[in-house]
Symmetry: C2
């Protein structure tokens, strides 16, 4: 799928007939090959993978194949992949189940994470604080980088887990995970990384990065919703997250979402093969969009680091305008973008990520995220660069705060 | 889908060309109408329901419609339905999140459940014991009934939750939930019921039953894997199960599995409309199978209650034979059945349910579960009644324990 096709009422509305999807951080289109591979597991291969009879065989084999494919995406072993229902579950699993296990063993109650993690990490950490853990939220610099030395300094007796995301989902900054993992390893502390924004998007190698746990989500790399995974390095001490049957080696019970898992595996296989050429194109479009926005809109600021960022991430703050107003105006022009994380898009609070980067709270209200994917074209970028500047002008005309400098 | 069609290598193997699926307790075929309704949410409507732009609208609306459909299945309000990834997650959610909330409020640490619950309840309860809760596992009588008076007697100061399943997934016994819920209500204690085997199978009305929390799974009623729900009555004190974004009212964060949820909603709508005629047929086939087995096989015993049981459940113990041997021999004749719960089918331990019913451990090794569904026919039953007795004879000939009485 390149652009989602215009349909229904859109056809009667020529000025909205072009639809440009630039919200891949919220959801990626599912590849047609992925859907095709899933459908038999919604129909003739409906059996339960745990069943000993023939109906269980095809689903069981398919889950095993998907596990191998996902493991190859991040250079893990198949038995180190534990399927979950989403990236959020994988993050909850990593934090809560390691914390519970090490508490049982009286290893300590201190966790280190960053101040720009996804809400599924931040709020899991907060829940752990409520149940007696202590959490250090490390600051970041203005590009969004976590300093490995700050991680080292935060370690104390009783530190049991360090969790720092591989790349930030809002501003796109790619963190120095290898260095941070090295600090953790040296201190003998488990290291988890939320790789939901990177796995399937940029090269991820758990061995080279040196992580003990890593979270993935299929819907970030052209796979289906409802499928995620937690990489757990062999030997990592962890209690089950879902208690029940024997699925996922007893660590994540529940009948497997076979079609979702199959789709995740197929998507992993395809993105692994195509990552390099796709990213070359996406990065070039990203840089064109950034350059064009800077040229055509004044008082616009790129969030994060200019180059050490996700290939498709164009996160900006636009002064004197509200993010949501821009979003809705762009939508009227057929352009789908986001303001902050999709998980909080109805909450309308200033992004904790932007505030942690030191962005002024007023400016943070004018945040906008264009996230590009493999289906985007030069024409999409031209369309944004044509439609967006007049939107900003119009909204600023209505803004009492705006005065042309 | 009636019987799964024979395909591939099966075609070359005429004696196996008939395939009779009698393992609906492990997985039900997904209705074609359900698959059809899901597919658009795997393709053009791939957007994130939380997105404010057009791509978020169709998925958001579809999730809302599914929530309403699922609520109607159990006579709940839409805002009382919280989607999960499976029944196991719903059971973990109910037990762990209520326990955590009431512990925070110092309400107590005692939980009552039965000794025949699904592993997702039993093992969640055991995990809670490890973290300081006390759990009473109530016995059942030889039919598998939990006695409401025993529930009442087990209540003490500090009891915060009672969890008893609506019907047992292995032996099919339907519990007196209304009476047990009444006991809980009188004592001011939350009542949860695992209705994974009943919701979508027999009439379930949360208001009439008087439950505070109830678990459901789509793959038990011709919906997809990867979709379940927890009913949480308005006002019930509970902490989130997955921490993160704002989805599911903040109680179960994570991007929604939109196709799965849509499929669950469609399946709920269809089964609600057809439950009565389907069950009439299924019950009649069940009773024919039970009568036929008793007639044709000696030393065979029906587990559970003769009439107060799930419409499709035929759970038996066959003396002097191993369950798994019967299962594999039946499979050679194209018949799919189960021995114990599918969640433990590779574990090969005697079922905790049968042992709780007082079945002799040796006899419990010979357990077999035929679970019928809407696609089964008289011919299916005839096929089993033709093929099964000689299988038992043959296996008994090989058994050193067997001596004809």
């Amino acid at each position: 799928m390149r652009n989602a096709s215009p349909e229904g009422s859109r056809r009667a509305c020529p000025e909205r007939s072009r639809r440009v999807y630039l919200d891949h951080a919220a959801a990626t289109p599912v590849l047609p090959e992925v859907v095709e591979e899933m459908i038999p597991y919604l129909s003739r291969n409906f059996g339960n993978p745990s069943s000993l009879h023939d109906f269980g065989q095809a689903p069981r084999k398919a889950v095993g194949e998907a596990r191998a494919r996902v493991s190859r995406l991040i250079n893990a072993e198949p038995e180190e992949i534990f399927f979950t229902s989403c990236g959020t579950e994988a993050n909850n699993f990593a934090l809560k189940s390691v914390a519970a296990r090490l508490r049982e063993q009286d290893k300590g109650k201190h966790i280190i994470t960053s101040s720009i993690e996804h809400h599924s990490v931040v709020n899991s950490a907060k829940a752990l604080e409520k149940s007696g853990f202590e959490v250090t939220y490390l600051p970041v610099d203005k590009s969004g980088f976590v300093d490995p030395r700050a991680v080292k300094e935060a370690i104390k007796k009783g530190t049991i887990l360090i969790s720092v995301m591989h790349a930030n989902n809002e501003v796109g900054t790619v963190e120095p995970i290898r260095e941070i993992a090295g600090v953790a390893k040296e201190a003998g502390i488990y290291f988890h990384s939320d790789a939901v924004s990177t796995a399937g998007t940029i090269p991820v190698d758990v061995k080279e990065l040196g992580v003990d746990l890593m979270s993935l989500a299929a819907d970030q790399f052209y796979g289906p919703k409802g499928a995620g995974a937690l990489f757990i390095k062999k030997g990592t001490r962890i209690i089950p997250f879902l208690h029940g049957g024997i699925q996922e080696d007893g660590k994540r019970a529940g009948t497997e979402n076979v079609p979702g898992i199959v789709g995740m595996g197929k998507a992993a296989e395809i993105v692994l093969q195509n990552m390099s050429p796709w990213n070359e194109r996406i990065t070039s479009l990203r840089d064109r969009l950034i350059a064009g926005l800077k040229e055509k809109v004044d008082h616009i600021y790129l969030n994060g680091h200019p180059t050490v960022r996700l290939p498709g991430n164009v996160s900006v703050c636009v002064e004197f305008v509200e993010g949501e107003s821009m979003l809705l105006s762009l939508n009227m022009e057929g352009i789908a973008a986001a303001s902050g994380s999709s998980c909080t898009s109805h909450a309308l609070k200033a992004s904790h990520v932007l505030l942690a980067l030191g962005v002024d709270p007023a400016l943070a209200q004018g945040s906008l995220l264009f996230s590009l994917g493999k289906g985007n074209t030069e024409e999409d970028i031209n369309h944004v660069l044509e439609k967006f500047p007049p939107i900003v002008d119009r909204l600023r005309q209505m803004s009492p705060l705006y005065r042309k400098k």
